[in-house]
């Protein structure tokens, strides 16, 4: 059992690859929940007008990682979120060591 950081990012699915790139390069592990809708100062995000291959809904990215891993990733994600929108939060968690 050791302490880790819990990184949460919510952004438009169209920016998914831009956001995952820094995570991949930092070799973070992560999970993605798709088809997330929401509301923010930019207005409502829904998927009811996502016709054809258009997808305008959000994704929720969750990654448990160490404090050291997270810092460089944040620096690289920030400009993407600034430009295209999206939010990012950190909190604490304890890893139940599975010792694979």
């Amino acid at each position: 059992m050791h302490m880790v950081k819990r990184l949460e990012i919510i952004a438009s699915s169209r920016e998914m690859h831009k956001i995952l790139e820094p995570l991949d390069e930092a070799k973070l592990h992560y999970s993605i929940i798709r088809d997330v809708i929401g509301k923010s100062s930019w207005g409502e995000v829904s998927d009811d007008s996502d016709f054809a291959s258009t997808t305008l809904s959000n994704i929720y990215i969750l990654s448990f990682c160490t404090e050291q891993q997270v810092q460089p990733v944040l620096e690289r994600i920030r400009p993407v979120l600034n430009k295209f929108g999206g939010v990012c939060y950190l909190s604490d968690a304890t890893e139940i060591q599975s010792l694979k």
Binding site: S12, W42, S49, F51, A52, S53, E75
Partner: protein
């Protein structure tokens, strides 16, 4: 004007189901068609109209009349966003003006399809190459929209030269739009390789090269199911349009007026061009409808990526909650009456 054509247009399953969708939302029914069912239907429609258009284009070949029509289509798609942009700039910022302008330069495949079932019902013929026109009209509008942003938002963009515009320690970044956003490769990809455009073009191509045997085997799926799936899809469009209607009221009367008047203006220009290049009445209606309709599929997706500063709920809602219903309910029969009047 003869109102019986409007009535006969309305009294058909697709339009009636559109009304049922509207009614469900206005009466607060909990009727809902969850994703990806609407996606399945619209992928199907793009697949089927592309394939059908390609097959018919193969049968007709590329005549000079067709070439002229396609050229006209591309020009309209490129020019409409330009004058739309300047009208919109009266009230809106550069980003939203450009995005809405692109929306109205581009087209709505479902409006097109509704017009073609309208013609089929009246036994009026039309050419498969109109689908090619449809496919060709998505991309130019996207490109012109982005050019407009590039030109008119130039100064702002020039300031933002840091490719990664944030201070390293979390201190105030400048909220900038790095120039990288205008990488032409990304813009061209969004215009020509946008999923909807790509599927439509691809299906058209398959329809072109596939021989009669392939065509016949697909006919039960792409032909006979078509009307039913269109009808079902319009039920969903009604639900979505009604929900979007609320967004629009916030947009104010300028945008509401634009959503109705712009299609009419574009339709009249379309009829004029159709007359000029002597299209048949059927083709003229389809061309008119392409000019009059606005995109709520390809353009929003492209704009979200390339003009993230614009508000998607504005341009999607205008195209979906006003222009689309106006065109399929009133526009199509009225445009056709005007055409019939002049074509005689």
């Amino acid at each position: 004007m003869n109102s019986s054509l409007i009535l006969s247009n309305v009294l058909n399953p697709p339009i009636l189901f559109f009304f049922i969708g509207l009614a469900a939302v206005f009466l607060k029914s909990d009727l809902e068609i969850p994703q990806p069912i609407p996606k399945l239907f619209s992928l199907y429609l793009l697949f089927a109209i592309g394939f059908k258009g390609g097959h018919e284009l193969h049968e007709s070949g590329l005549t000079p009349e067709i070439a002229v029509t396609l050229l006209a289509a591309i020009i309209v798609a490129a020019v409409v966003p330009i004058y739309s942009f300047f009208i919109l700039r009266l009230k809106l910022d550069i980003y939203n003006s450009a995005a809405i302008a692109a929306t109205y330069g581009s087209i709505s495949a479902v409006t097109f399809v509704t017009a073609s079932t309208f013609l089929t019902r009246l036994n009026v013929e039309f050419g498969g190459h109109m689908v090619a026109a449809l496919a060709l009209m998505e991309s130019p509008a996207i490109i012109v929209g982005l050019l407009l942003v590039r030109i008119f938002a130039n100064r702002r963009a020039a300031d933002d030269s840091t490719p990664d515009g944030s201070a390293p320690d979390g201190s105030a970044p400048d909220g900038s739009t790095p120039k990288a956003a205008f990488s032409w490769s990304e813009v061209l990809r969004e215009s020509f390789l946008n999923g909807s455009v790509f599927l439509l073009m691809g299906s058209l191509l398959v329809g072109l090269v596939t021989r009669d045997q392939g065509w016949k085997s697909l006919q039960p799926f792409t032909g006979e199911m078509f009307y039913g799936i269109l009808t079902f899809f319009l039920l969903d469009m009604g639900l979505v349009a009604a929900r979007r209607f609320q967004d629009l009221r916030k947009g104010g009367s300028f945008l509401i007026g634009f959503s109705i008047l712009m299609p009419v203006v574009n339709a009249l220009i379309g009829i004029w061009i159709a007359a000029l290049i002597q299209m048949s009445a059927g083709n003229a209606l389809l061309f008119t409808v392409l000019c009059a309709s606005a995109s709520y599929i390809a353009v929003p997706a492209a704009m979200r990526m390339t003009v993230p500063e614009a508000n998607p709920s504005l341009y999607i809602s205008m195209a979906l909650a006003l222009t689309f219903p106006f065109n399929i309910i009133i526009g199509i029969p009225v445009y056709f009456q005007i055409i019939q009047h002049f074509w005689r």
